[in-house]
Point group: C2
Chain length 347, copies 2
Amino acid sequence: MTSVSDGPSRVTISDIAERAGVSIGAVSFALNGRKGVSDKTRERVLRIADEMGWAPASAARSLAESRTETFGMVLARDPRNLGAESFYMQFLAGLETELAQRGYGLLLQVVPSREEELATLQKWRRTRRVDGVLLMDVTLDDPRVELLAQPNALPALVVGDPSVAGTLSCVWTDDASSMEEAVRYLAGLGHTAIARVGGLAHFAHTRIRDDAFTKQMSRLGLSPTVLRTDYTAAEGARATREALASSVAPTAFVYDNDIMAVAGLAVAMELGRRVPDEMSLIAWDDSVLCEHTFPRLTALSHDVVAFGSHVARRLFGVVDGAEPGHFKDSTPVLIPRASTAPAPGSA
Amino acid sequence: MTSVSDGPSRVTISDIAERAGVSIGAVSFALNGRKGVSDKTRERVLRIADEMGWAPASAARSLAESRTETFGMVLARDPRNLGAESFYMQFLAGLETELAQRGYGLLLQVVPSREEELATLQKWRRTRRVDGVLLMDVTLDDPRVELLAQPNALPALVVGDPSVAGTLSCVWTDDASSMEEAVRYLAGLGHTAIARVGGLAHFAHTRIRDDAFTKQMSRLGLSPTVLRTDYTAAEGARATREALASSVAPTAFVYDNDIMAVAGLAVAMELGRRVPDEMSLIAWDDSVLCEHTFPRLTALSHDVVAFGSHVARRLFGVVDGAEPGHFKDSTPVLIPRASTAPAPGSA
């Protein structure tokens, strides 16, 4: 496992100048983001510096011989959607609990695209801005995983399933088991028409939940309905409304976050469907919000704050050179509250 | 206005060594956080360096001649409470929208106490970790305002009222006007027993809302009820429950955030009080959540994402040496939805 304190870098500015066929001065200008070289030259120099695994030597090292005391997290998300669900703030809060104890800060950057996400990670490595990074919202064949598995890459931890972590360490939750539990619970209450209101399809954890839902429904001889959303309350409401208007309306819904479940509950009330008598709802993840609706929401409960702290501890491990590993966090468990009941007519 | 690009620092390590009566080497060890000096010496050197306004010169400057491309935010809050309300994530999302456009990151640190908050700000200045800082949750006589008003301090922006910003720039919202509007609106609907469910008393903005509520109620010849909470859903529910159990139960409630209003709505439903026929509720700030409850919540609406972006732009201004100023953001406006109606018996 590569660590930032692994002795001096062997690649020098002269090496880069030679490979790029430009002067040492030009390389220096390019690496320090100063004027004096063309954009084209700057891009070539930065690319070559990246390829060669260059990191600033003396200047950076004399400023902070060892650590930056900062972890980085770059998110390719629409900033407006970040605020809607409670997951991220809970997760950040958990990270901060651990970081604060060690005097670390979190460098958070939200970017508009996956390309910018990669560029930011490369820039952070080049400028030694952080000691390590967290990878969130991992997709299948995620290019960040490949980038960070290279020698001289920033120490990194995947927050997600081992199946998409490659050779990197990861912290994960067994979402498949949780989903199976939710389906078994609803089927046990006599529900046969169950809908999953899922999040964005390109995220690996969405795919894992989709698969688990579909397989468990099939095992029980039931026909699965998967509704696609972008995690927003508006989409959760729309999906619920459309499903309830269909010829075989579901009598139970499993939502991929808390805010969509709350929105689904409001749609049910507006349409005069009694919850839980006529319709059951399950939220995932559980949150303070789920405990303060009426009726209170049955939820798959996972201590997201503790999860964030666990992730921070594992990233400290990675930075300190611990053996890579796949670390399982606690599995979300079903907390039955007042939003689930036997299916209508099944009693 | 002090700026990080204001030419070279005039205080040298020798100056500090002379004042502290120790060797230059000892100062260097202390400032760079290396072993080789006693804790006592380290503390004295750091204190003297702070007093003299020392900032690292050559090493830091040669690494990044101008900017760190990072803004800092340190919060003295219980991390578990940070995730409950949507304000912070919306605000962060707004900041990030602006920062992302300029390639800036946000260094976020959550600390357990006000003392640690001050220490973190001092450390950031000493190590040039950030280009500027935001002050949130400003209190009356806030020691951070005094610290950051000193020469050589980090460029800073207060997110809060001009009355507590001292000589620093600030971005603020006219909460007093918004509160007056909410009270007038409820009084216009015939409500006479109105309760404010307020946040933490030591925050300046809580005090401003308290005062505006009390004054406006008095102007209308009504007796004000202010209930104190810590912004959590549990406290919002408790305050609502207690108020409804009192001999003159309020018929209208104005909550200091969205999650407490949602919790209050659930309490009303549980107790069989019909909203809005028997009880009116107003949330502040408005959020996606308020639009997806049933009935939907009347709210004081403020675009918190846009507010965050505005704050980021003003901090760029401060760092660039703009004239200090008190910048007013848009005033939260009342959005009547389905949770407010004429007071019972007033029609």
